[in-house]
């Protein structure tokens, strides 16, 4: 495979796209063909199954570049799998089909997520060469340095502010435009930032925050507004701690659209009868909204809040592009990358583990909340 991929890499990009997709689809087509004929009985099909079971692992190991006897062991294991499949209680070929469907995904997940996650967890307790275990030193380093504490605090600030404000803006906007004329256009305008990459959004906002010295004409919109009101231009991204808030604005700008779309669907799902009943009781629009609509969409609100919380915990691109973590704006995901680039693999892994530990309670809270609601009903 190395050779194949190496050869492909020498071709023009567009040819690579076609070739890789075609080769991949051909392999999948072949796989589906073998799955299709697997359960058929008769000596011919049994022989085909045996050949596939033995040859596929053998060839796979060889093209992955392993030594010959490792490949032979794989082939023998394939043969054993054939026997297991042959004697399967659900009939020969059953296991073969199952493995055919699941193996690509399971193998990729094992090598690409499970193995690396374990690897990172171990690295977090090792020194920067990944040779000696150093216990909790990396974590102690994070939580005793003023800089490391700052990084964690910044991340927590992101998680507290972004979901709250995005949800409030999204909810308000969804309620304002509900059933109004041109609702679709209104939606598209606020939703549009979601299609823009974080990098693109960062440049857009960096331009808004741009500052020129006093006396020169401003080209950043925000400073121009300040100047119009008689103030002096501010270097928004340099003064800690407020610069973090100006970075946070970018993510709010992006996530409000997400909150708005989900909550808009939820608001429309609130039964009209409930609202009408409340109206007959003489409530005003605000009371109806707070006492009927909001409780009615409670679980959608939780979903939106948790989803945005997780996104803000992992925020990386915005910080990387706008400040690269300078002027005390760094967050965990950015620091994880910075430490890794600085060959501090242990500390980098420790930051990744801290991030993982911070994501977990949000998911657990969400799962429990939903379980609770299921019990009530």
């Amino acid at each position: 495979m190395s050779q194949f991929l190496g050869w492909i890499a020498t071709l023009p990009a567009w040819l690579q796209i076609i070739l890789v997709i075609a080769a991949f689809l051909a392999v999948i087509g072949l796989l589906l063909f073998f799955i299709e004929i697997a359960p058929r009985t008769g000596r011919r099909y049994t022989a085909v199954r045996l050949a596939v079971c033995v040859l596929v692992p053998l060839i796979a190991m060889l093209i992955l570049g392993s030594v010959i006897w490792a490949a032979l062991i794989a082939a023998v294991l394939g043969g054993l799998f054939f026997l297991l499949d042959y004697r399967s209680r659900q009939g020969a070929g059953y296991l073969f089909q199952l493995v055919g469907f699941l193996a690509p995904a399971v193998i990729l997940l094992a090598i690409g997520l499970i193995y690396p996650t374990i690897g990172t967890t171990i690295q977090a307790f090792q020194d920067n060469r990944s040779r000696n275990f150093v216990g909790l030193d990396n974590f102690i380093w994070i939580f005793t340095q003023p800089y490391g504490i700052r990084v964690v605090v910044n991340t927590i600030v992101w998680v507290l502010i972004v979901p709250t404000l995005s949800t409030i803006f999204g909810l308000a906007y969804a309620a304002f435009i509900d059933k109004s004329r041109g609702e679709k256009i209104f939606k598209a305008l606020v939703f549009m930032p979601m299609a823009i990459s974080f990098v693109g959004a960062s440049i857009i906002w960096k331009f808004v925050y741009d500052a020129k010295p006093v006396g020169q004409e401003q080209i950043g919109l925000l400073n121009q507004i300040v100047v119009w009101f008689g103030g002096e231009p501010v270097y928004w991204l340099q003064n800690s701690p407020w610069n973090t808030f100006f970075l946070i604005v970018v993510l709010i700008w992006i996530q409000t659209g997400f909150a708005m779309v989900i909550l808009s669907a939820a608001i429309k799902g609130v039964p009209a009868e409930q609202l009408e009943a409340a109206e007959l009781d003489g409530t005003n629009a605000w009371q109806r909204f707070m006492n009927v609509t909001v409780p009615g969409i409670r679980s959608s609100l939780i979903v939106v809040l948790t989803t945005i919380s997780i996104a803000s915990l992992k925020v990386f691109d915005i910080v990387r592009t706008m400040t690269a973590g300078t002027n005390e704006t760094s967050v965990i995901a950015n620091e994880m990358y910075t430490q890794w680039k600085g060959f501090e693999t242990g500390r980098s892994a420790a930051f990744a583990v801290v991030l993982f530990l911070l994501v977990m309670p949000i998911i657990i809270y969400n799962a429990r909340q939903i379980k609770k609601q299921r019990e009530i009903r």
């Binding site: 689809l25 690295q123 939703f191 440049i203 919109l221």
Partner: protein
Amino acid sequence: MSAVTPIDLPIDRSTEKQLARGEAKIEGSTAARRTKRRLTSRSATIAALIIAILWTTPTLGLLISSLRPAKEVATTGWWTIFSNWGFTFDNYVQVLAAGNTQLTMSEAFLNSIAITLPATVIPLVIASLAAYAFAWIDFKGKDWVFIGVFALQIVPLQMALVPLLSLFSRGITIGGVQLFSGLNQGTSYSQVWIAHTIFALPLAIFLLHNFVSEIPRELIEAARVDGAGHGQIFFRIILPLTMPAIAAFGIFQFLWVWNDLLVALVFADGTVAPITKLLAEVTGKYGQEWHLLTAGAFIAIVIPLVVFFALQRYFVRGLLAGSTKG
């Protein structure tokens, strides 16, 4: 990674129904909606208008600036476009040829396409295979394996990046035996394709499973009676029927990969870097050359914007995909 995330968390039945009802109303005919009494007041409309303007202005500023002459961009604000009139495509011509020592913006744009297309198709196919097995083949411990796959979603990308990179570059050696020799080319797309494929799988399997399991059992049993095996059922029934779901997730995957920076920083170095990476790099280098930065940024966001406006319907549907099935 981009901002778009479909609801990927478990949702209870009633919320599911509520969102489905709302979605049906969104997609319902506009004529039916007009007859309804308007509930919004004038002040609400004005507030909505203000938010909409606030949200659109920054992007508008970027677009206008990217079309103004360099001298004007550097000295006057884009909102003075009418008093300092000027219009040019020079910035685009210039920025497409600019870049770092290894590649230009136009090459990076091509790289983005070359990375994104395979990294969208491959995970979708693999995930739909797995989703079918989880939905329609019975085996021991199926629920546990499925929960395991679902749980992998909460693992942040950051946990997996570094060991995966060393796996790609050094391979696996167990007890001196090389099981996998590594991909050992720094300048091919293969690393970043595989990385994106893997990182997309948990969510893709979970969402597609929701759709695949909703297909009526009778349909599949009828096919089985007619002599179709799992291969044919998958190819002839499952694939065509779940195409809308696959398309919706495909849009997301496309945008994620196109907008991603983190995976590209780690896995796509040198001449295969996508446009997001190059753009993030030149933001520091070009610091104050806003005519180049704005044009570059617009080139990077134009494809996602086109995809978004053309497929907005599917986009919204896909966003609700985790909650409203079928």
